[in-house]
């Protein structure tokens, strides 16, 4: 439910912003369906409104979305049995929220789950995001000052909530805190897109410095405790025969 609220709220605000920048319904919907990249879409609205040249918009979009490389690399070990053609299509639907939901779900059940990915990425994000975009761009003119509604806080609040759901020990906690600190610092120096990527790259490196013995995992990955910890809204069948495997582990 929280993720759908995120998609709807964020998509609605995007629709409002796009309308305010002079986008038509088709323009706004094309961005949401074809680019399907929330923060980059927001940035593009601002860039278009400010008259930034297209090459600049394209480069900044690529930079802002470079973090998806980390997401896809993280998911790959879990989805190694999924056909290549399916993975090629799945890639288009990979967003911050889809990643957070699916990685938590995979950890919870101890294996990859293609159907879970489709549910999270398409049913919980792509469809609500696009419907909310349509709502925002169509209804936007009737809302005098959307920022007063506080809807724009949904995205960062959801991100921090999802991050918290992934923290089960000191390594994750360290990675998150350091990632946030580096992200803000670098963002102030070089801009938000670079900061986000830098935080995502360097935070885990510092997290790895925490010795396993000192990690104090309250819910080690792939265990029942982990399943309880990641109480996210995807209820799918569990394969208990694989519940304690991690991707990349050798049998026996």
């Amino acid at each position: 439910m929280g993720i759908i609220v995120t998609g709807v709220g964020f998509g609605f605000v995007y629709g409002l912003s796009a309308r305010g920048a002079g986008f038509s319904v088709i323009d706004a919907m094309a961005m949401s369906a074809i680019a399907f990249a929330g923060s980059a879409q927001f940035a593009a609205v601002g860039y278009v409104a400010s008259g930034l040249a297209w090459p600049g918009i394209i480069v900044l979009t690529a930079l802002l979305n470079a973090r998806h490389l980390l997401y896809s690399a993280s998911l790959r070990p879990w989805l190694r049995d999924v056909p290549l053609a399916h993975r090629s299509v799945m890639a288009h639907f990979l967003t911050d929220e889809a990643f957070a939901l699916t990685i938590a779900h995979f950890r919870r059940i101890g294996r990859g789950d293609e159907r879970g990915y489709w549910l999270a990425a398409v049913l919980f994000m792509f469809i609500p995001w696009n419907l909310a975009t349509l709502g925002g761009v169509v209804l936007g003119g009737q809302i005098p000052d959307p920022s007063r509604l506080g809807i724009d806080i949904i995205f960062p609040a959801a991100m921090v909530g999802l991050a918290a759901g992934l923290i089960t020990g000191r390594r994750e906690l360290t990675a998150a805190i350091v990632g946030a600190g580096i992200g803000v610092t670098v963002a102030l120096l070089l801009g938000p897109p670079v900061g986000i990527v830098a935080g995502g790259l360097l935070g885990p490196l510092v997290g790895l410095l925490v010795p396993a013995a000192a990690a104090h995992e309250t819910a080690p990955l792939g265990t029942e405790a982990s399943a309880e910890r990641y109480a996210l809204p995807i209820a799918l069948e569990h394969d208990h025969g694989h519940e304690h495997e991690r991707p990349g582990d050798e049998p026996g």
């Binding site: 690399a73 806080i153 921090v160 909530g161 790895l208």
Partner: protein
């Protein structure tokens, strides 16, 4: 309708898709060394926290210069974090965050 902006959307897709697909489609990533897998497991918390922190603490002004921002949004995100941490309920956390920001802005605490 503005065909130009549809083309822009296609170009944005063209530079976004490789980032999304490369990791999923590259062979060999399913047999990475343990330390690499451990690193990838930590990417989620780190990048989501970075996204949240940058979204709340950094604003880009009309001159395109980023600056540090302090506002009611910090409290909203912290309350959401506390609710998720204590009750495991993201939906409730989001509702609380939106309410705090809406009330704060109505009271003139933030722009």
């Amino acid at each position: 309708m503005s065909p130009n902006l549809v083309v822009l959307a296609v170009l944005m897709f063209a530079v976004t898709y490789p980032s999304r697909a490369l990791g999923l489609l590259t062979p060999g990533l399913d047999r990475l060394p343990k330390v690499a897998l451990d690193y990838l497991q930590l990417v989620g918390p780190a990048i989501l926290a970075a996204l949240a922190a940058v979204s709340v603490m950094v604003v880009v002004g009309a001159d395109d210069q980023p600056s540090f921002h302090v506002g009611i949004e910090w409290l909203a995100v912290l309350v959401c974090l506390a609710i998720v941490g204590r009750r495991g309920n993201l939906f409730l956390g989001l509702l609380a965050a939106v309410a705090i920001v809406a009330i704060g802005r109505a009271a003139g605490l933030a722009g």
